[in-house]
Every structure is written in C-alpha cells, then in structure tokens.
Amino acid sequence: MPKDKKNNKLDVEDKADTSSENITEESENIGTPSYEELIDKNEDLEKSLLRANADLDNALKRSANEVEKAHKYGVEKLLIELLPVIDNLEHALNNLSKKATKDDKEGIELTLKSFESALDKFGMIPIYPVNEEFNPEKHEAVTMEKDENKKDGSIGNIFQRGWELHSRIVRPARVTVIKN
C-alpha cells in the first residue's frame, strides 16, 4: 500500500509539472496584450457595467411596481369570492316575500350598505351603467334588444352589476345592448 501512495504522489507531481508547462506555453503564445487591445477591453467592460447598472435599475423599479400591485390587488381574490354574497343580498331585496315586514327589508338594505362601504374601503367600486353607451372594456353584452326610445349601441337592461378594483375590472357589468 505505501508503495501505491508513493506512486500516486509521483503522478500528481508529474501532472503538476505538465500543467505548469502548459501555462508557460500559453502565455508565450498569447503574449502581453497590446495597448489597443486593453483599451478595447476597457470599453467593453465599461459598456457591460453600464448595462448591468441599467438592468439593476430596471429590476428595482419592476420589483417596487410589483410590491405596489400586490398591495393594491392582493385582496382581489377574496373580494371576488364575496361578490356573490352581495348579489344574493340584492336578489333578496328584489324578491322579498309577502310575509316580509318593513323592518326585514330595512335590515337587508343596511347589511348591503355596510357590505358595500366595506368593499369601498379596499377600492372596490360598483359599475352600474344606467343610460350609458356600451363599452366592452367595462361591460359584457349578454344579448341584444330593441327599444325605440334608446340609441343603437346604448345599454338596455342591467342583469348584474360590475365591479372594478383600483380601475382594474374585476367583473364586468352584464348588460343587454340596444339594436333597433
């Protein structure tokens, strides 16, 4: 075994010798870089430094932007899930049974109001386009209808209110569009 170790050592030394020879050969081949080459290299490095700085700047701006968006729209999913609850309260108001008292109605109305003001605190604004032109950015056309009193392309009935969160459409208002 000790013999083997010795051999290994020798091998390593041999390799070290050859590699150092290689290095000296290479440096002889390349030689010292000329002044022009160094200037070129310096220019390249300066350019890449500028680019790296610009990239870093952009990345910082983008991450700041993303943090802001996360703050603004982080609650979006939760709010979307809450919208059907509001819809149901509205349906309840519109379809009150005959047995329901005034107080019942008032109770639902107040609940709906407090719900809406809670959403408003997070920047959720309802879209209820009465007498407006149809705008596909905010409204979704469900069907067409005729109404002589209204202009083509305006909104007839509103089936469902829409909602926007910080001017991003969370749910478009579902409407009918007039076409005579």
Binding site: P136, H139, A141, I169, P172
Partner: protein, 119 residues
C-alpha cells in the same frame, strides 16, 4: 445581454412570458389576467379590440369578431376542417386567389375590408 420572450399563441387563449434571470415570468395583461383570449374584433367605430373586451362584445358584433382563427392557418379553403368551421362560426371565411382560407371582417361604413391572410 439579449432578452428572451416566449409567446404561446393558442387557439382560444394566448400567453406571453419572459426569462428573468433564471426564472420564467408570465406577463399579466391590463386586467391582471395571465392569459388573454385569442379574439380580435373590428367595431363599427373603426376600433380594433383585442382579448377580453373583444370577447365581451362578441354578441353585439358576431360577424366581425374573429376567434379560433388559428385553426385556419396553413389550410386551404377546400380543406375539410375549413368547410366544417365555416358552417359553425359567425364570421366569413373566404377563398383567396391562391386557394388559401382567409377570414373577412367588414365594418359598417364599408371603409375597411379586412382580410387576415395566412399570417
């Protein structure tokens, strides 16, 4: 350093992503969606709508709302798939001079005749 961007142009939805460092990142559209419907619409006001707004007004403007047109790319008008599509979609599929299947959208004032050719 060159940037890398990838576009998945789908028949129904499209998606765009970039490589940031070692990670890919899907770019969101104006409404925060990670995919955008592959729909384009030419309105009577000579507006061109793309994505969700185009989809939302499809009921009001079916002849000029083009969707699923990726299915037509590279096909001739006489292709079986094209004639099947032509019966199903509300927009017009027409035969080009060279036999390709093109789609046509005509706005109300007839100022523009849109021929989306073979891309």
């Amino acid at each position: 350093m060159s940037k890398i961007i990838g576009i998945d142009l789908g028949t129904t939805n499209s998606c765009v992503a970039v490589i940031e460092g070692q990670q890919q990142k899907v770019i969101e559209n104006a409404e925060g969606g990670r995919t955008t419907p592959s729909v384009i619409a030419y309105t009577d006001n000579d507006e061109v709508l793309v994505g969700l707004p185009a989809k939302r007004q499809a009921v009001t403007n079916p002849e000029n709302t083009l969707y699923a047109i990726k299915r037509l790319i590279g096909r001739t008008f006489d292709d079986e798939v094209v004639s099947k599509d032509a019966d199903m979609v509300p927009y017009k599929i027409i035969k080009a001079d060279n036999g390709d299947a093109w789609v046509q959208a005509v706005t109300k004032n007839l100022l523009r005749l849109k021929l989306l050719q073979k891309f």
